[in-house]
């Protein structure tokens, strides 16, 4: 009798120990290193979700790459929506701070991206709620860098950081 009670106690102790190790480590990993997310919507067609509502792509979101807020033009990034903090949006970085960009549908024809901000756009112009609607976004809202498509298997690929050719900058900061 005493033996089986000792067994239960030891099991509970081991369970609690494992729980308090596994949960914080897993949560920290998903917050700081990488996580996975399903993409909804058509604003990044044809790069993401080309099939529309039939099949949603699942992408790998890399937090570690943006831990110092370093992004390049052409990266596909996820960020907290400036209009709705409960939602994350996924768009492509078109311009960095200091660049001057010609907008498509924004109230100003030309915009200089302020310090600490970036200009993001969806690849599917006209069907995208992006910087052309809400202006440049602060880098503090940056969430992760989408690096690979993981699902469906026939769409396994590394996402390339390439600027769409029609979105050449008017003036970039380095010039």
């Amino acid at each position: 009798m005493a033996q089986s009670q000792g067994w239960v106690k030891r099991y509970l102790k081991a369970f609690c120990k494992g729980f308090f190790v596994a949960v914080p480590v897993a949560v920290t990993f998903l917050d700081r290193v990488a996580c996975v997310a399903r993409v909804e919507g058509a604003s990044m067609q044809p790069s993401l979700n080309p099939g529309g509502s039939q099949s949603s792509d699942v992408v790998l979101l890399n937090h570690w790459k943006v831990r110092n807020f370093e992004v390049q033009r052409g990266d596909i990034v996820s960020l907290v929506s400036p209009k709705n903090p409960e939602q994350k949006i996924i768009k492509r970085v078109i311009a960095l701070e200091g660049d001057i960009i010609r907008t498509m549908g924004h109230k100003n024809r030309y915009v200089k991206v302020p310090r600490g901000h970036i200009w993001v756009e969806g690849d599917h112009h006209g069907h995208s709620f992006d910087s052309n609607s809400f202006g440049p976004v602060s880098l503090g809202l940056l969430h992760a860098h989408a690096t690979h498509i993981l699902w469906p298997p026939e769409r396994w690929q590394k996402l390339e950081s390439v600027l769409p050719p029609e979105r050449i900058l008017v003036k970039s900061e380095e010039e």
Partner: protein
């Protein structure tokens, strides 16, 4: 002998990772101790005061007018700012002095908040860079623990007139 050293090293690394992760979860989801610097929140918070910040309000979207919040700076994401929430989305903010004859207003857009320091003469806040997105808010400051002469919950804004949305 080598196996003993290796075993000890692995155990040390394991404990460091474990406690680091617990610390991350505590700061991210519960709260932590913060030291504030700068004069923009005087007299409520002085330079080098140590305060307690909680992050639960941010996750449950319970930030209200009059709360003192820590947020990421809109122009420098690596630094934090500490200001009071004057207006939430949809509020009408007076941008001219109350004594001016011609008043001008601005409406806070959806998903944004309007922040101002309590020390209006010496504070770079939304009057300078405009409303900031709610997503930049990191936590809410509600308790001061240093200096001990000022220990306790934080006072309301000394600029009471800023809260009337007439």
């Amino acid at each position: 002998m080598l196996r003993g050293v290796l075993g000890k090293t692995f155990r040390l690394v394991g404990y460091t990772i474990q406690y680091g992760c617990i610390a991350h979860c505590a700061f991210e989801y519960v709260g932590g101790v913060v030291m504030c610097s700068g004069p923009s929140m005087e007299p409520t918070i002085q330079n080098s005061d140590i305060v307690f910040a909680e992050n639960l309000s941010r996750h449950f979207y319970g930030i209200q007018r009059g709360d003192i919040v820590i947020a990421k700076s809109p122009s420098d994401p690596k630094s934090n700012i500490c200001k009071r929430v004057i207006g939430l989305e949809g509020d009408k903010i007076l941008t001219t002095n109350p004594s001016d004859f011609f008043k001008s207003h601005i409406y806070v857009p959806t998903g944004h908040v309007w922040l101002e320091g309590d020390n209006l003469q010496n504070s770079t806040d939304s009057r300078y860079y405009g409303p900031i997105p709610y997503g930049l808010i990191r936590g809410r400051i509600f308790f001061k623990i240093w200096p001990l002469s000022d220990f306790g919950f934080l006072r309301d804004s000394p600029n009471g007139h800023r809260f009337s949305d007439d």
